[in-house]
């Protein structure tokens, strides 16, 4: 195996020795990896926080997600119960451990938490950030946020703090590096899985017709909360 590695690298190096290959025109490799400069970031996601929330909502709705907004944490369980009732969906939910602090007893929903399983019908997770540019939510895996919960159940409800809505994907990387990176470990900030989710699952594989909910959730409902959850 090591032979293959050396052979491949040697072949690349031989091909790179030609006079026309400019090796470092975008800065040195080390600088680029360490400083990760931004390229052009579209203006679309720019704006004051309130404008970004409006944009986020509009973009998310364009890709078949639904979005509501509540003012405080107390309202989240009620809003979810209402959404499920309004849409004739089962009132049994599984939420991510990250949402355990909410008072779920204020509704009649059957509530449990854990990782995603085949029998789950509705899951509720925390979104780490929202991206106004495309109405995308971002989640990442850790003890509190199992990845499988975002994908297995047919209905996905994501709780997103209004303050976590940013303009661009680049803003999310900046936030992630600040939140999870430590000085000596600048490369190790990245969680095992980072998921960007833009609307519910879809396919065009049958007759090039758009159909929702093939493997991931058929519905994505985003609850924006004005009060920051602890």
């Amino acid at each position: 195996m090591n032979d293959s590695r050396d052979e491949i690298l040697a072949k690349i190096r031989t091909s790179r020795s030609g006079p026309y290959v400019v090796r470092n025109e975008l800065g040195t490799i080390e600088d680029r990896l360490k400083n990760h400069p931004r390229n052009v970031v579209p203006a679309r996601g720019d704006g004051l926080p309130e404008e970004q929330i409006t944009k986020f909502k509009a973009e998310a709705e364009l890709v078949n997600a639904t979005v509501t907004r509540v003012s405080s944490n107390i309202d989240i369980p009620k809003e979810i119960a209402k959404y499920l009732a309004d849409n004739n969906l089962p009132s049994r939910i599984k939420h991510a451990p990250s949402l355990e602090h909410l008072d779920w007893s204020t509704t009649l929903m059957e509530v449990c938490h854990g990782i995603g399983e085949a029998t789950d019908e509705v899951c509720v997770t925390t979104a780490y950030a929202g991206v106004a540019e495309t109405g995308t939510i971002v989640t990442y895996s850790d003890q509190q946020n199992p990845t499988t919960l975002n994908f297995l159940p047919p209905v996905h409800i994501a709780v997103l703090n209004a303050v976590d809505i940013t303009g661009s994907y680049e803003d999310v990387w900046t936030k992630l590096r600040a939140d999870l990176g430590s000085k000596d470990q600048s490369v190790n900030f990245i969680p095992r899985t980072v998921n960007m989710i833009t609307g519910p699952s879809r396919t065009g594989d049958i007759q090039q017709t758009l159909l929702l909910g093939i493997h991931g959730p058929q519905r994505l409902h985003i609850v924006i909360v004005d009060e920051k959850t602890p």
């Binding site: 491949i8 690349i12 290959v21 990896l33 390229n39 203006a43 003890q143 007759q207 159909l211």
Partner: protein
């Protein structure tokens, strides 16, 4: 998959005569290109993004060895393993080894062109491991025993009725009288069938849209969410990727993502974009325990530094296929190997050799549409021409085409004779189609006339008309009058 590149002309003829295929290809002509245009129009910075995406990839190719080493280092720091493979055989064997060590019975797979390139499905099946395609389109063609015909919509050639047939034939556990009229019913059935496979699989095999050197992550882009169930549920996650998939940083990946979905399906962003880095962490409640990357060369290092290096910028978005008049006429299977359309016509001879793929670079009208939509600025027509030149120079015997060209060159050097012969041909063709303005059949050219009519000339050549009506007056006005 059997290689059928050498019978390209025959494949193309069959494809043009296939009515079901033609209906689906017609649908394609109106779908993707229109959506792409709308998405591009909605992004004022698109041209800038495109230029930067191109520059990023050029920078990576110029420094590929350094970035690969950095990438490998990051994967290992996160507890993953990188397996370097020179060719398809080495990659297949490495994958089998990992699967055997995991005692795998079934392997779920999310769509991967590299998986197609190394024919991993056949190989796993021969070794007693069941590969299960989970992308709906791939699943459909796996049931039908076919290769993909498009790089992002693999079952684009299959009609709804054919999907229904395949499902009825294979899903025998379901009631025979079930109604599958509605496409949504087909969708539900596929979802149900694949659900258990996801949960039972021992190994999940995914491709990678990109590999990020900064973090050691692989990027997965899907609309269905199948890739996410493929890596998140089984105990082992194997990524198969070719060496040129590297990008430096998360910021660079973001720039390429912005041009990828828009060029592919006309979405601003695909539904699921995932960054996977190593196996699950100690405190994670779910995720794979092992993480392997198969890093494949398979001919790429031969393209580096050659006149075809630019094709290594390709991000497999499919825009060049969707806009190609040849692809839209014959579909993907006619190209005879894994990669169809303009990008395939350039890449295939580079990977399997000119001898076996010499017809592919000719499958282009050089109309330039592919280059104008390629988000990575790849000069596809130029590269196609380079292959043509190479092929022409390498040709051992004289073909009919070469002899005809020689004769034409001889004729063109004798203007008087040339105009006489030309006049004769035009007069004959004109007489043949005078009444309808079209010609339905021309001797020795039935390849053209069996599928479309040939417009009949008016009976005179331009030079003849010029001499008759505009002698001595070369002004545009007079010429226009003559034309009327």
């Amino acid at each position: 998959m059997e290689m059928k590149t050498t019978t390209f002309k025959e494949n193309a003829r069959t494809a043009i005569a296939d009515e079901t295929l033609q209906i689906e290809l017609d649908r394609l002509s109106f779908g993707f290109p229109e959506k792409r245009k709308k998405a591009v129009d909605r992004m004022p910075e698109f041209e800038q993004l495109r230029e930067q995406a191109r520059d990023i990839k050029n920078h990576v190719l110029a420094n590929l060895d350094l970035y690969l080493e950095n990438y490998e280092d990051r994967v290992e720091k996160h507890g993953g393993q990188v397996h370097w493979c020179r060719d398809a055989k080495a990659a297949r064997e490495q994958i089998l080894k990992i699967c055997k060590a995991a005692d795998a019975k079934t392997v779920t797979k999310s769509k991967s062109m590299i998986g197609e390139e190394i024919f991993i499905n056949d190989f796993l099946a021969k070794n007693g491991i069941e590969p299960i395609e989970t992308d709906l389109g791939e699943y459909i063609i796996q049931l039908r025993g076919e290769p993909p015909s498009h790089i992002i919509a693999p079952a684009i050639h299959v009609s709804k009725a054919q999907v229904e047939d395949a499902f009825r034939r294979v899903h025998t556990d379901l009631p025979a009288d079930r109604n599958l009229e509605d496409p949504a019913a087909l969708l539900q059935e596929a979802r149900g069938q694949l659900r258990n496979k996801f949960l039972q699989a021992d190994v999940g095999l995914t491709g990678a849209n990109m590999l990020v050197a900064e973090t050691g992550s692989n990027v997965l882009v899907t609309n269905e969410g199948n890739a996410d169930l493929t890596y998140a549920l089984p105990r082992v996650h194997i990524v198969i990727a070719s060496i040129e998939k590297i990008v430096p940083t998360l910021e660079d990946a973001s720039t390429i993502l912005r041009v990828l979905a828009r060029s592919a399906t006309g979405q601003d962003m695909s539904v699921y974009t995932t960054f996977c880095t190593g196996p699950k962490r100690f405190e994670d409640p779910d995720g794979p325990e092992e993480y392997h990357v198969i890093l494949l060369d398979n001919g790429r290092t031969d393209l580096l530094g050659s006149e075809f290096e630019e094709i290594l910028r390709c991000i497999r978005c499919s825009a060049c296929l969707n806009h190609c008049p040849i692809y839209k006429a014959i579909g993907g299977h006619a190209y005879g190997w894994v990669y169809p359309g303009p990008m395939g016509a350039v890449l295939t001879p580079g990977l399997i050799g000119m001898e076996d793929a010499s017809d592919l670079p000719n499958a282009s009208t050089l109309c330039g549409k592919c280059e104008s939509v390629c988000p990575m600025g790849i000069p596809l027509p130029k590269l196609l021409r380079s292959w043509r030149t190479r092929h022409f120079e390498a040709k051992p015997t004289r073909s009919l085409g070469q002899i005809t060209l020689k004769f034409w060159a001889w004729l063109a050097k004798r203007p008087k004779l040339y105009h006489k012969v030309n006049g004769l041909i035009i007069a004959t063709l004109g007489a043949l189609g005078r009444r309808k303005g079209r010609i339905k059949w021309i001797p020795f050219a039935s390849g053209w006339t069996s599928k479309r009519d040939f417009p009949a000339p008016m009976g005179n050549t331009f030079i003849q008309q010029y001499h008759k009506g505009a002698r001595g007056d070369t002004s545009g006005r007079r010429l226009r009058e003559v034309k009327k």
